[in-house]
Amino acid sequence: MLQIHCPYCNETREEEEFTYGGEAHITRPLDPESLSDAEWGDYLFFRKNPRGLHHEMWNHAAGCRKYFNVTRNTVSYEILESYPMGAKPSVTAETGDKN
């Protein structure tokens, strides 16, 4: 069972209070009409699905009901940080798993 920290409630709660929102930092194309089918399909369906550090969205469904981001290791399931929407992660695959 994951223990997830909600940056808005500032509380660490069990995973059952949250729903998963998938890969984070995917920006919706500003002008969808100008995209090719391949580009639009890529935006909709194709994902990094990494084995290792993953930036992902979670929704605090049974709490404040807000979305936020989490950096989590998909192998060890260790959660390295939670940060609000719009913010940038401080731990990335490039900066490395600090632990």
Binding site: L2, S36, D37, N49, P50, E56, R72, T74, S76
Partner: protein, 416 residues
């Protein structure tokens, strides 16, 4: 190959069964193969078998990082059925079901395929409408199916709680009598032995760490045991497919998630069919050994940890106890997880890629065991001819840009 037969059983009995030939060789890798198949699960092994048998391509290696069939093949709950809604999927899964019916003869290996029938329960009026629609679609596609009423279900499965005051009353079910289960390990071993006999090299404990290209074309794979040359590379790596694609800078419309199952201590025979329920999300059968085999849901989030969330198991066990109150005292023996490759439309990807000589067969997600022979058959054709088999064509990766998705979330609604 030492044939398995009554005659040979008798013959070997005279030597106390000490001289049986090993089921497959443990070869040293050749310098270069016509096809290197990455992933020694049942799908990869079936691909090798049909490449050799149907297409005469025997200079083939199956490269497996662990042991043969140790991935999802060994972890699945072995439910086999073909009652998918859409024509494209129905055709492929039914083709596979027909191959299952002859598999033990074809491979000379008892895969313990048992057509004990599969029930999909309906608990609401909408469930029943969906069931009627799916059964009708199946029958139009030549797939056996019936809609059963509650009393008929009770006759088939006496232990199932069919009382009207159950929390989720059973209003009816779809019934596919030709569905059932098979022995998962035997499927991997049977294909492995038969492929090896035709000259396919099975390279275990060999992990592919890179895919080498020259002028944009595949030339081989890097492994922990050195470079292995290949004219074509076919990835059949289930939950690890995203990692394989990243080796050549591609992404896939796939997310990898743990799916769990659990088995009980062995019991006397008490359940002689397969019972599944989308609505309460549980599925159960009894193995020939006597243990109840229970499948859980897929985790809500991506993971490669081969273990799943406890709340998912808890939810499934609640559903099973609700359906079968008599099982509430059964002790569970083991629980495990496998990493499934889930696709947005709950259908597989059997496809060429933008890299010449590189092919993917993945995205079978929570329900690919049933398709093992069909998947291997159409993928072997696709790789051998560098052109999709007509049955595989709709499952091309292009559908994620053309929009021609094949939405099987209904038929695959419960992970199985």
């Amino acid at each position: 190959m030492d044939k398995y037969s009554l005659f040979n059983l008798f013959n070997h009995a005279r030597n106390y069964h000490e001289n049986w030939q090993r089921a497959w060789r443990n070869p040293t890798p050749k310098k270069v193969y016509d096809v290197v198949i990455v992933g020694g699960g049942a799908h990869g092994l079936a691909t090798a078998y049909y490449l050799a048998k149907v297409h005469g391509i025997t200079n083939v290696a199956v490269v497996e990082k662990g042991y043969l069939g140790g991935g999802n093949t060994a972890r699945n709950t072995t439910i086999i059925r073909s009652n998918y809604l859409w024509d494209e999927a129905a055709q492929l899964y039914e083709f596979a079901l027909k191959l299952w019916e002859d598999m033990s003869q074809d491979l000379n290996f008892n895969v313990m395929f048992s057509q004990r029938g599969v029930l999909n329960l309906g608990h609401s009026l909408q469930d029943m409408r969906d069931i009627e629609r799916r059964v009708n679609a199946n029958r139009l596609n030549g797939i056996d199916g019936e809609v059963l009423q509650t009393n008929e279900i009770q006759d088939l499965v006496p232990l199932l709680n069919c009382s009207p005051d159950a929390r989720y009353p059973v209003l009816g079910a779809s019934w596919q009598p030709r569905g059932g289960t098979a022995r998962h390990d035997a499927v991997a071993w049977g294909y492995a032995r038969a492929a090896d006999a035709m000259g396919v090299d099975l390279l275990q404990q060999t992990e592919v760490t890179g895919i080498r290209r020259s002028n944009g074309e595949v030339v081989g794979v890097e492994t922990n045991n050195g470079f292995i040359g290949a004219r074509k590379v076919a990835c059949v790596t289930a939950g690890n497919s995203g990692v394989m694609a990243a080796m050549v800078g591609l992404r896939l419309p796939i997310e990898s998630r743990p799916l769990q199952a659990l088995v009980s201590e062995p019991l006397k025979p008490c359940l002689d069919t397969v019972v599944m329920s989308n609505a309460v999300h549980g599925y159960i059968s009894q193995s020939d050994k006597g243990d109840l085999v229970v499948g859980a849901g897929v985790d809500a989030y991506n993971g490669y940890g081969q273990r799943g969330s406890f709340n998912v198991i808890e939810h499934t066990v609640q559903a099973i106890c609700e359906l079968f109150p008599a099982f509430s005292r059964v002790r569970m023996n083991r629980q495990w997880g496998g990493i499934v490759d889930t696709c947005p439309d709950a259908c597989p990807i059997v496809s060429k890629t933008s890299v010449k000589g590189l092919y993917f067969n993945c995205g079978w997600g929570t329900g690919g065991f049933k398709s093992t022979p069909g998947s291997g058959y159409v993928f072997a054709h696709t790789v051998a001819n560098d052109n999709p088999h007509p049955m595989a064509a709709p499952f091309n990766i292009d559908r994620f840009s053309s929009g021609a998705l094949i939405d099987e979330h209904g038929a695959a609604g419960v992970a199985h």
